[in-house]
């Protein structure tokens, strides 16, 4: 939104929509609701399909487990395949068989976690797909004739006529007409939205929505398959999902850990063979053979699987997919997982004042007369200047003026003067009389151009309104200034607490407004933002984003107008409003279907939650290794004199290995709900979060497996 436009005089942002975006967010749901019936059955089927090596190879940790399963299966069939076993063949086969089963279920559980997350996305995509169907479009030919064609034949640049009751065949822009559109199919909001030509932000229509009144001529802006709903389906389904930078970094870490443990385990037989040879001479053949038995292929693979971070390896993609899903449930469509993740790393939020920090509908609260005029005279001029103004601000001026007894006879010769960003004023021309209201500077210039004088009391009234945090609008008739309108700005409730939370998380908030410095400082103080830029132009948005980025910060911003597009593209996180222009939506990396700019704050929370969840589960997974290490190593190398390290006092090497592997497999499905829901978010600084995570997931990750492995060992009948 043009900031100067928005704050100097009545805005058009709230004129296009008859719904209020600030409504209860909890009530908002996609219509139709995603059908999640049969989700788990489908996920079970998919977890088997994902055993295909071509699919499995994409997850390095689980692929190693999968290959390990094949090898243990071979030694189950023939325990002597890789060397003559020391133990009884039947017993060894049973142990190898149990290990094979557990490893197989470990892979299946990891596949299941991913399949459940994907299934949720697919269910949402199916719900969206049900809103889209082939329909007949009335294409407007260059000679003015109308030809009925299938909507899939429409191409960018084509013009179509949409009449009441019709579905809009494809994404486009209204070039003629005015009408109410039901966008509930994509936004979940049942209230219709007014679409009209000529306005910057109300002319964009989405394919699959329904025209409820009148007629529209729409210019198509998207080729088939490239429309908004098509892109949404592809994104929610995960068809275009690519790894985010954090996921890539974590994948590298997991691959390094797996490589290190692979080398450790692969070299273990050589080392243990050397020690066994030493034991043969020093203690006796029994001790040496016991050590050799501990390094059978099945046990080495078990050791490898227990040591590599299978928990996070199995849940990593599920966490990422669930993050996208959470954003989609918030009625926000992200163009990539990278955008969602960037939300979590954001350092600076650039927010518009009107509609984001304050309620969009500013209302006239008082008329302050200047130049010796009475309140009634000011009310009369205000009424005359606002009679054609259909914005909420304009209507509130009319109401206040009428309340004060003002009357205005409108005849056919009256002509409305529309607001423009250039003139920054609007008004009415009637029988040679010019009634104007607008930014104080603009009205001063207008009066001077008509040969009038600017009274000194105007600046006093202007400052008085500004100090109250309101927006002052001057009114004049011809070359005479009559007074100042006090447009009251109301800060959205609860925002101060949200900004405090963001500050605690280390996120800086900057308010941009076209208002004067005094008004901006009062609102900034009341809302609790960290910084503000007054009398801002659209170019200032880009400047502030660039200057923050130059300091190495990540910046998020919202916008809906065409003039916001460059800033949305420049920002690390650009959130466009669904009611905005096509240019804004294309430049941004997220689109809010509810057109609620305050949601940017929630997105930061979701992004942080995604990163925290991933970090917490990685910490937990790596911490688990310590317990598994203490369970397996002391028991299989007990003959080498490290039996004292068996602090859990596990019954035997077999029982220890099987217990550790069962825990390793079961922890994946146990953590699926946490991976999908995300860990509980708390507004803390990065250091506090790190301490908290290390305490809960690090320490918990060490203690929990000790208890669980011991419990499994007690229950297992192995000796």
């Amino acid at each position: 939104m043009n900031t100067r436009f928005s704050t100097s005089i009545s805005t058009s942002t709230s004129t296009h929509a008859s719904r209020s975006p600030g409504g209860r967010r909890d009530d908002r749901k996609h219509i139709p609701k995603a059908d999640r019936k049969g989700l788990y059955q489908r996920a079970i089927r998919a977890s088997f399909t994902k055993l295909n090596p071509r699919v499995a190879v994409r997850n390095p940790v689980m692929f190693v487990v999968w290959l390990g399963t094949i090898v243990t299966l071979l030694v189950t069939l023939n325990p002597n395949l890789f060397g003559t076993v020391q133990a009884e063949i039947g017993k060894q086969r049973l142990l190898n068989g149990i290990i094979t089963c557990i490893l197989f279920f470990t892979v299946l559980f990891a596949n299941f976690a991913e399949a459940v997350a994907e299934g949720r996305g697919k269910a949402q995509a199916d719900a969206l797909r049900s809103t889209r169907s082939d329909m007949v479009a009335r294409q407007l030919l260059p000679d003015g004739r109308i030809q009925e064609i299938n909507s899939t034949e429409l191409r960018r640049g084509d013009q179509v006529k949409v009449i009441v009751g019709d579905m809009i065949p494809a994404d486009g822009e209204v070039i003629q007409g005015i009408g109410s559109v039901d966008e509930s199919a994509i936004t979940g909001e049942s209230a219709p939205v007014l679409k009209q030509t000529g306005t910057d932000i109300a002319s964009s229509v989405t394919g699959g929505t329904r025209l409820l009144s009148d007629e529209l001529i729409v210019r198509i802006t998207a080729d088939p398959g490239q429309g908004f709903i098509d892109r949404m389906i592809a994104l929610v389904e995960g068809a275009e999902r690519t790894k985010t930078p954090n996921e890539i970094a974590l994948t590298v870490l997991l691959a390094v850990l797996t490589q290190v443990f692979l080398i450790v385990v692969a070299t273990t037989p050589a080392i243990s063979g050397y020690i066994a040879g030493f034991l043969d001479h020093a203690v006796g053949a029994a001790a040496g053979n016991s050590l050799r038995a501990g390094t059978s292929i099945a046990i080495l693979i078990s050791l490898l699987v227990a040591l590599i971070p299978t928990t996070i390896g199995g849940l990593l993609s599920a966490i990422g997919i669930a993050g996208m899903d959470r954003v989609a449930q918030f009625n926000v469509i992200a163009t990539s997982g990278r955008a969602v993740e960037a939300c979590g790393d954001v350092n600076t939020l650039v927010l518009d004042k009107t509609g984001t920090i304050t309620l969009g509908n500013r209302l006239a609260d008082e008329f302050i007369p200047v130049n010796g005029h009475s309140v009634q005279e000011v009310a009369h001029v205000c009424l005359a200047a606002s009679v054609f103004d259909e914005t909420p601000e304009g209507r509130s001026i009319v109401q206040l003026a009428q309340k004060l007894g003002a009357k205005f006879d409108l005849d056919e010769s009256a002509e409305g003067i529309e607001f423009s960003a250039r003139t920054r004023m609007s008004g009415t021309d009637l029988n040679g009389q010019e009634f104007r209201k607008g930014a104080v500077d603009a009205i001063k210039g207008f009066v001077r151009s008509r040969g009038g004088q600017v009274p000194t009391t105007l600046d006093e009234a202007y400052e008085q309104v500004s100090r109250m945090g309101g927006t002052p609008l001057a009114v004049c008739q011809g070359n005479e200034i009559y007074g100042v309108i006090y447009l009251k700005d109301i800060v959205k409730p609860g925002l101060r607490e949200r900004f405090d939370q963001l500050r605690r998380m280390g996120v800086k908030t900057i308010m941009l407004t076209g208002d004067n410095r005094i008004t901006a400082s009062v609102i900034a103080k009341e809302a609790g933002v960290d910084d503000f830029i007054a009398e801002a132009t659209p170019e200032d948005k880009i400047d502030v984003i660039r200057s923050e980025q130059a300091q190495g910060k990540l910046v998020a911003m919202t916008g809906d107008g065409t003039n916001d597009a460059p800033a949305l593209a420049q920002a690390n996180v650009g959130l466009a409003m669904n009611s905005g222009t096509q240019a804004a939506k294309e430049a941004a990396n997220m689109v809010d279907l509810d057109s609620d700019p305050t949601k940017l704050i929630d997105l930061v929370t979701i992004g942080k939650q995604l990163l925290i969840t991933r970090g917490a589960l990685t910490t937990f997974s790596v911490a688990n290794d310590i317990a598994k290490y203490f369970a397996i190593i002391p028991t299989i190398f007990a003959a080498a004199g490290i039996g004292a390290l068996n602090i859990m006092e596990l019954k035997s090497a077999q029982s220890a290995i099987v217990s550790a592997l069962i825990y390793n497999a079961l922890i994946i499905p146990v953590l699926i709900p946490l991976a999908l829901r995300g860990v509980q978010f708390r507004p803390l600084t990065a250091d506090q979060l790190l301490q908290r995570n290390i305490l809960i997931y690090g320490l918990g990750g060490i203690i929990a497996p000790f208890i669980a492995i011991k419990a499994i060992d007690l229950v297992l009948p192995l000796s």
Partner: protein
């Protein structure tokens, strides 16, 4: 005589065409399927590795065990190379 030879050649060519097509199809499928090719190469390479394993182990392993161990060693090496790939081009995985 000449005519008969020409005719027979033509018939031979006609009957050979489906066979050639099948061979071409198999070759295309073969070049598309990398995994069987790699497995085949590993088995071939194991013909060199297995005797080395057998020789190094003395009489501890049988021929089959040496052959299996050789393959296991190659598989471990392949996993290690694969993990290096993941480390250096992680975006592909």
């Amino acid at each position: 005589m000449k005519f008969n030879l020409l005719n027979r050649s033509r018939l031979l060519l006609q009957s050979a065409t489906p066979v050639l097509e099948t061979i071409a199809e198999l070759w295309t499928a073969w070049s598309r399927q990398k995994l069987p090719l790699y497995l085949f190469l590993a088995l071939c390479f194991n013909l060199i590795v297995a005797p080395v394993v057998y020789a190094a182990s003395g009489n501890e392993f049988s021929h089959i065990q040496a052959w299996a161990l050789g393959l296991l060693g190659l598989a471990t090496l392949a996993i290690s190379i694969y993990l290096f790939f993941v480390m250096f081009i992680p975006e592909k995985f």
